[in-house]
C-alpha cells in the first residue's frame, strides 16, 4: 500500500456537497484489498463544524454534552475523507449566568469528536467563527454601565445585570483534528488529482 505522506498536503474545505463520499475506512480493504490506498489526514487539520443544539450561559451547565455536525467536507488533495453532515459531540466546559453589577454570562465550549461509521475522529481547539466585535462566548457586559451608575447615583448600579449568551443551532465554529488519522480510499480516487496535473 502506498502511504501518502502529509508533507505538503493540500487540505481543502468547500461548502459544496462532495461528489464522491469517502469510502468507509473499515470497509475498503475487504472490498478492494489490492487497489486501496491509505491517506493520512494529519493532526491539527482544521474542520468547520456546526453546533446542533441551543446552548447558552443561562441554560447549559458545565460538563453537558451537545451534538455537533461537520458543516463542510474535509478533503485532502482533492479526495473527500470526511463528508459534510457526519455528527459528533461537543462539551460545555464552563457556563455562568449573567450576574449583578453588569457581569456578562459566560460560555466556553469544546469540540470532542465526530463519528464516522463508528470511528471516533477526536477534535480539539473549538473556536467560534465570529464576525466583527461579536464575542459569542460572552453575553453583553454592563460592568461599565453599572460602575457609572454607582458613581452617579449610588449603589443602584450593583443591581444592573449583564446579558446572557445563547448559541443558536447551526452556529458555525472551527476545530482541529486531535490525532493523525488514516483513511483507506480507492487507489484511482487518490491518484485522480495527480492525473489532472
Amino acid at each position: 500500500m502506498l502511504l501518502l505522506q502529509a508533507a505538503a498536503p493540500e487540505i481543502t474545505q468547500s461548502g459544496e456537497n462532495p461528489a464522491v463520499d469517502a469510502i468507509p475506512a473499515e470497509a475498503a480493504p475487504d472490498a478492494a484489498p489490492h487497489t486501496a490506498t491509505e491517506v493520512l489526514l494529519p493532526k491539527a487539520t482544521p474542520v468547520v463544524i456546526a453546533v446542533d443544539k441551543e446552548v447558552g450561559s443561562k441554560i447549559s451547565v458545565a460538563g453537558e454534552m451537545f451534538p455537533i455536525r461537520l458543516a463542510q467536507p474535509v478533503e485532502l488533495d482533492g479526495v473527500s475523507l470526511l463528508p459534510a453532515g457526519i455528527t459528533g459531540e461537543g462539551q460545555v466546559v464552563h457556563a455562568k449566568k449573567a450576574g449583578m453589577a453588569g457581569s456578562a454570562g459566560e460560555l466556553i465550549l469544546a469540540a470532542r469528536y465526530l463519528d464516522y461509521h463508528g470511528r471516533r475522529i477526536e477534535l480539539r481547539s473549538f473556536k467560534f467563527i465570529e464576525e466583527g466585535d461579536e464575542i459569542l462566548s460572552r453575553g453583553k457586559n454592563n460592568v461599565d454601565l453599572a460602575s457609572a451608575t454607582n458613581a452617579a447615583i449610588g449603589p443602584l448600579g450593583f443591581f444592573i445585570s449583564g446579558g446572557n449568551t445563547t448559541i443558536a443551532p447551526g452556529t458555525l465554529a472551527s476545530a482541529k483534528t486531535k490525532n493523525d488519522e488514516t483513511f483507506a480510499v480507492p487507489a484511482e480516487t487518490a491518484a485522480a488529482p495527480e492525473e489532472v496535473k
Binding site: H94, I108, I135, R138, N141, V143
Partner: protein, 165 residues
C-alpha cells in the same frame, strides 16, 4: 536683561524641542501597539490574562489563582497582562477581591492562545474582580499598550514564563 534673554531663548526653543521629541514618542507608541503574541512551546497551550486601564477600580489588583491554590499566579494591575503556559486540558482559575471571588474554567489547547480579561466591577463596599473569556480581536482593540506585570508580582513559575533568563 540677561535673565529675560535666557527666558526668551527657552521660550523660542521649546516648540522646536517638543516637535523634535514627538516622532520618537509616536514611534514608541506604535512599537508598543504592535504586541507580538508569543507562540506556546511544543505540546503546550497558553492563556493571556489581561486587564485594561481605567478609573474604575484602578487602585485594586486582580489576583489570579489556580482554583483551590493558596498562592496566586499573578496580580493584574490596571493596564497589565501576563502569559500563562500550561499543559493541554481543563484548568480552572479564580480571582479574589475583598467582597467576592469569581471563577472560570478553560480548556487549554495545544498550540493555542486563549485570552481572559479581568475587570473590576461595582460592589457594595469595594470593587469586585471579575474574569471573563475574551478573544484576540478584543485584546487588540481594547488593549492598546500592553504592559507586562512586574516580575515581583508573579509566582516563580509564571515569572520564569514571562521573564526568561
Amino acid at each position: 536683561m540677561k535673565k529675560f534673554l535666557v527666558a526668551l531663548a527657552f521660550a523660542a526653543a521649546a516648540p522646536v524641542a517638543m516637535t523634535a521629541s514627538a516622532p520618537a514618542a509616536l514611534a514608541q507608541d506604535k512599537a508598543e501597539g504592535e504586541f507580538k503574541i508569543p507562540t506556546p512551546p511544543e505540546g503546550k497551550g497558553q492563556v493571556i490574562f489581561y486587564r485594561t486601564g481605567g478609573i474604575s477600580g484602578a487602585a485594586l489588583g486582580c489576583a489570579v489563582f489556580d482554583a483551590g491554590a493558596e498562592d496566586k499566579l499573578s496580580s493584574l494591575g490596571a493596564g497589565k497582562y501576563f502569559v500563562l503556559v500550561s499543559d493541554p486540558g481543563p484548568r480552572s482559575f479564580t480571582v479574589k477581591s475583598l467582597e467576592a471571588k469569581d471563577a472560570m474554567t478553560l480548556e487549554i489547547e495545544e498550540g493555542e492562545t486563549q485570552f481572559v480579561r479581568c475587570k473590576i466591577k461595582a460592589g457594595f463596599m469595594s470593587g469586585r474582580a471579575d474574569i471573563a473569556p475574551s478573544n484576540e480581536s478584543e485584546f487588540r482593540s481594547k488593549y492598546k499598550t500592553a504592559k507586562l506585570v512586574d516580575a515581583d508580582d508573579m509566582s516563580a513559575e509564571v515569572k520564569a514564563m514571562n521573564y526568561p533568563q
